[in-house]
Amino acid sequence: MEPLTWTGGLGTVLDPIFFLAAGLLAVSLVLQVILAYAAPSGRAQINPDGTIAADTGPYGMVSRASMYLLLLLIATVLAYIAVGAVLGPNGAGIVGGLARRLLPVWIALVLLYAVSIAYKRKLGLYGKLFDSTVGMIGFGLVMFWVFVGVFGAMDLIITHQPLDVVSGMKNKVPGTPLRGAEDGDYAWYLLGGDNLARDVFSRIVKGAWEVIKIAPFATLFAFMVGITLGLPAAYYGGWLDMLISFLANLILAFPVILLFYLLVTPEISAVGVPKYMAMFLFAFPIIFAAVLLNSRYHTQPSLRTPLMVIVLGLLIYGYLVMVSDGGYLLDTRRGDAKGYTFPGLPSALDFFDMPPGILVVFVSVVFVNSPTVFRIVRGLALDIKTRDYVAAAQTRGEGPWYIMLWEILPNARGPLIVDFCLRIGYTTILLGTLGFFGLGLPPDSPDWGTTINDGRKLLSIYPHAAIFPAVSLLTLVLGLNLLADGLREESLKD
């Protein structure tokens, strides 16, 4: 079988348009920047009816031109995807193959955008996101990877299993046909093979799932820790504030990689440090939920008690499931009988064991992120604490935790949501760093950092094995940053 070209037959039509539009867009953007300073501002013209209209001059013309060029470029990309998905790999090369494989993602994205834009006025801040171009692009990139991750985990998108080795496919360039493919097999390695002859495309898709399942939750936990500690530190001040701030500054003074090298080693795991940290850090959501509900509903015991029992019961069960492993909360016995154990949830009820590698990675990422979140929450709360509505609540006789969680926290939500998006991106970068140094995650894990690390050894001869995961990570983090920027812009408009 012939190796696939990048765009196949589709390319003869679309490639010239694409490159022409991209080149012209670059030129017009440079012109726009220069003209913004060099060109005279437009002349004002007095119309017969007495109104004044200013024409925008050459700058306006160029900026309109670059807008149309951008639209043309987007239209071309959409055409690549749409026609490519119809024609498939035989008609439209690698692009077609990718577009066809990613079909569930396109459908999900189109549905999501159609529904969101139709109801955007009823959806609050989320709906307003669709008013800003930057925010929409960012959200699109993020959701693209979320869908890729989710569908990839359901084995919808991948062409081969991420660990399957096919003989003769070592370091093959993108689009190489599979040697001796049988009927059920996908006939190409769309993005080439890596140095162990595994399919790069399928590994990227599986790697997206690794990120999607860890990064948001780790960030969420870091926020729980940061909020639960930051609010009282700011509200009470005094020695509590000093103590927690001192501890936070201790952690912040470590360069992150050093901390990873100290925390994510097999030796440390053998002593059980990550388990202790997990037991400590995972307790914060429970404390947070308990205080949150109790401070609000403690005046209505008939509602409070059942609510607390259900919510806390679920959370504590989740906590035990996450932390305990094979019937023990902590088990430092290594081979011989040395070490000690804490009994935990019986194995019969424990339907989910967190793989130890993932646990270490998760815990260290939460640990690294939470001091920064603490500082942000503390700073916001110190500011909001002086507002009148807080004084009013104090006068009403509300308890301190009610004021912190139901008066201060909701009013700090804007900056916190923006930071949450940025921080997921940062967490993604941290996960990549861990993979890049081969810390924590198993060496055959398909996550992007590990893949980049594997691929970089042959980078100057076969760049495809490292460059595609690198670009994937880049687009996901860029999407999160753009999303945060869009959210910030829209929340400032209120």
Binding site: A253, V271, V273, I461
Partner: protein
Amino acid sequence: MLFTALCLTFIVFFLTNLEPNLEKLAKTEGNFRMSDEAVQSWLSDRGYTDNTFVKFGRWMGVAPGWETVKEDGTVLRQCRDAKLPEEDRATYCGVLQGDWGYSLRFKTDVSNVISERLGATGKLMFFVMIFMVPMALIVGVLAGMREGSGLDRSLSTFSIATTATPEYVSGVIFIAVFSSSAVGLKWFKGSATSALEDITFENFTLPVLTIALYGMGYVARMTRASMTEVMTAQFIRTARLKGVSFRNIVLKHALRNALIAPFTVIMLQFPWLLNGVVIVETLFNYKGFGWALVEAASNNDIELLLAVSVVSVAVVLITQLISDIGYVYLNPRIRVS
């Protein structure tokens, strides 16, 4: 601050001297088939089984070093001066005496390794700073002087893109584009090993660019924010009403005020730059401080890892101090009373 430094040092000491680390050390130094008893006696001969605080005191040089006389008369001492005559031997030999220990990976004194590697990284950082700071300030000031203009939007997008690109991504892309035979540009070298002896444009551009880009976006955004804030201040409006030209407003009135905030940010960037250094030195195989960190950690070289950690934590704390002092010095509104 000294207390913070002491706490941090102790944490690092504790984490590097955990029992499994020591066992591994005994097995790599002694032999791999040692029985548990042999490991224990090897460790206790070298003072590793004592209380952590005692060990920490010894390492710091405030407690007398360990000394074991074996049955056959050989003397094991923490102070590596057993060859000297008895009266010349030191009792205290820790960090305070200038003795950082012995690196097992590099087979030489830790202090030698540190100074040599730190020198190499110093060169890298110097070039990074020379490139990063002016670029970041120019981008930030240009973007911030007319908020919302086309230039502002393009430069802001550029700085967002650079902050979204971690070093291991941009480094990989740079190598693939500029030095691989697949793309064929081959402008630069993908490895900076030769830069240790001889820095050339060809072997040092990519590492410097890679570190600088990631840090640059953040500093540029801070500069932009502070510049836009200054440009809306009253005294700028006054200057405009007086008829001062836009160029003079920016250069003479706004710039100095707008540069206070970025200064502190640049100083606080050092922990991030240290991260970048570790990644880039690994990626480009430049044998500097970050490379030494990776080598020490992956070879269980406890004393070198300790020294590397202490030095990097010290760098972070010192830059924080400089940033605080510099802020007070630059900002006329804050005076130390």
